[in-house]
């Protein structure tokens, strides 16, 4: 039993280390997004045909002016990655927030009121889950065109379900709690019960789901832009870079690899933070 104990303790302590790592990754991404005009050595759309297809600086033929190399029209990869952070993070955040708002509200009402509210919301969740989402997203975006709001809206369609399910099940179990009944016995009205009793209890879970949803949204957005459904034509997205780099995998591997690493690290960061949050918030929560 002591061996398991040591393992558990290690995990929790390790959780903080990993959580810290995740936090660091996210902070880098946020910094990149926020300070892009200052940080990036070049403008992301600056074409310089004389410097096209330069390998990264440590490779033969590369130079320090373009640390991560250039793409097929001479645009600096590093700068494009830094600027691309804006798209990924803003989309991830927005989709997560919108999903949280819609999903949590629906989940809370479903769990607390039960009855036909619950049945309606549960039915919606089931429909959503059974649907081939990406296909539907592509269709919708093909119809409405790309752009920030449409993409965010479509991504929230994917994430709201996570929130709704978690919040609903929590609300269901909270409903049986004595202190809720005690509040009703005092004469507290439903709005206050939802706001002051239920919401604070489900907030930790919402935060955890939010970090995972952000990761999911970032990944999906990259996939969408890889498939050609962009957000902003003036700013490169990591997914678009992947799409471009696809054709140059043999000759200029750096064009696809670095944006791919950027996606992976950002998503990893969000997931690690989510893990750490769930360890810290949930077991203590009740």
């Amino acid at each position: 039993m002591t061996r398991i104990a040591k393992l558990l303790r290690h995990r929790i302590a390790g959780g903080t280390i990993l959580g810290g790592l995740g936090g660091l990754l996210l902070v880098c991404a946020v910094l990149a997004a926020a300070a892009a005009p200052v940080l990036a050595p070049y403008r992301p759309t600056d074409i310089d045909l004389r410097q096209r297809l330069l390998p990264p600086s440590w490779d033969a033929g590369g130079n320090m002016l373009h640390m991560l190399g250039t793409d097929n029209v001479g645009r600096d990869i590093l700068s494009r990655i830094i600027w691309g952070a804006r798209i990924s993070l803003s989309v991830g955040l927005a989709a997560s927030c919108l999903g949280a708002l819609v999903g949590s509200t629906l989940g809370l009402c479903a769990g607390f009121f039960g009855g036909w509210t619950d049945r309606a919301v549960s039915w919606l969740i089931d429909v959503q889950l059974a649907f081939p989402f990406t296909l539907f997203a592509i269709f919708l975006l093909a119809v409405f065109g790309g752009g920030f709001m449409p993409v965010v809206a479509v991504l929230s369609l994917a994430t709201w379900v996570n929130f709704a399910r978690v919040v609903r099940s929590q609300a269901l179990s909270l409903r049986a709690q004595d202190y809720l009944l005690a509040a009703r016995a005092v004469g507290v009205g439903t709005p206050r019960i939802l706001r002051r009793y239920l919401l604070p209890a489900v907030l930790p879970s919402i935060v955890v789901v939010a970090s995972f949803s952000a990761a999911q949204a970032i990944l999906t957005q990259a996939a969408l832009s890889f498939l050609g459904i962009g957000v902003d034509p003036t700013v490169p997205s990591w997914g678009t870079m992947l799409d471009l780099g696809r054709n140059y995998l043999q000759t200029a591997w750096w064009m696809a690899t670095f944006p791919g690493i950027a996606i992976a690290l950002t998503v990893l960061g969000a997931n690690l933070v989510g893990d750490w949050l769930s360890l810290r918030l949930d077991p203590r929560g009740s």
Partner: protein, 314 residues
């Protein structure tokens, strides 16, 4: 046949910065029933878990002497302890739902204990399991042995637990608040059952509870614990009719009685284990007999048939 089943001395249990149990000692002989009574924070459950080394990870245990079933178990391996538990000593808990496997029918669970600890074959084990269920008062055991724990009422579940505890034919049984969650009528029945079984099989019994009245008809000796220490230890007759320690007196007076109204109430709340700010007797802050010497922890003093840790009695 006065074989000593459990002999533990100088037991101190530390957990997460608090000392849950301080310097506790206990011996239980075959055929003897000992009651451990205490309120919340008394450390009684922690002491019993430590006695069979079933304490949660991260708990520090010190003992001067720890003999279980004639063997020194101070440095026993988990394997050794596991073979002792179930075969020599069995524990019955307060909440049978968490102690019984919800995924297995009760007959199977009891049979498993029989197969593991008594080395019975599968068929014999199932027959014996059915007999045990009948013995603990589950009518129509043949039909009930296929049921799952959640299909029984609280009282019946506890009977199943008792049957499971009996399966290993243990010499020593520890019951930790086994009837607390149950109705009074069921409580009375189960108490009767446990006493009968104890007499039949000449087992040693340790009954841990906060209900001093309940153990009156069950135990031969009583140990009163408070904030992790022993306050008084006495034969049942002596304790109930001539309590020595002020805490025991207050405890007995606090018992709600049908025949008379409660006497003056003890102020304050039971102290948390080892968490009393000042050194000395943990009961001192609430004690009406407090003297200066109470700043030092009193040892157990012999007074008549009882042992009481109180300077005021010296």
């Amino acid at each position: 046949m006065n074989e000593t089943l459990l002999d533990i001395a100088g037991l101190t249990v530390r957990f997460g910065g608090t000392t849950a149990v301080s310097d506790v000692f206990l011996t239980v002989a075959r055929g003897e029933a000992v009651g451990i009574v205490g309120e919340s924070g008394s450390g009684k459950s922690a002491a019993m878990l430590a006695a069979i080394r079933l304490h949660p990870p991260g708990t520090g245990i010190e003992t001067e002497r720890h003999v279980l079933g004639g063997e020194d178990v101070r440095n026993a391996t988990e394997g050794k302890m596991r073979s002792l538990r179930g075969r020599f000593v069995a524990m019955v808990f307060q909440d049978p739902l968490s102690a019984l496997n919800p995924l297995l029918p009760v007959g199977v669970q009891i049979a498993e204990v029989l197969m593991r600890h008594r080395r019975l074959g599968r068929r014999m084990a199932h027959l014996e399991a059915r007999a045990l269920l009948t013995r603990v008062g589950i009518a129509d055991a043949a039909a009930h042995e296929h049921r799952y724990p959640h299909e029984f009422s609280g009282g019946q579940r506890q009977r199943v637990m008792i049957a499971s505890a009996l399966a290993g034919d243990p010499a020593l049984r520890i019951a930790d608040e086994p009837t607390t969650a149950l109705d009074v009528t069921v409580q009375a029945q189960l108490a009767r059952l446990i006493v009968q079984l104890q007499r039949e099989r000449q087992m040693g019994l340790i009954w841990v509870t906060h209900d001093l009245a309940l153990m009156a008809g069950i135990v031969d000796r009583v140990v009163v614990m408070y904030a992790g220490r022993i306050m008084e230890m006495a034969p049942a007759g002596a304790l109930y009719f001539a309590p020595r320690h002020p805490y025991t007196v207050a405890l007995l007076a606090s018992l709600p009685r049908l025949d008379r109204k409660r006497s003056p109430v003890l102020p304050g709340a039971p102290a948390p284990p080892g968490g009393v700010a000042q050194p000395g007797c943990p009961f001192a802050p609430r004690c009406s007999k407090r003297i200066d010497k109470c700043d030092e922890v009193p040892p157990l003093l012999e007074i008549g048939e009882s042992l009481a840790a109180c300077w005021a009695l010296a």
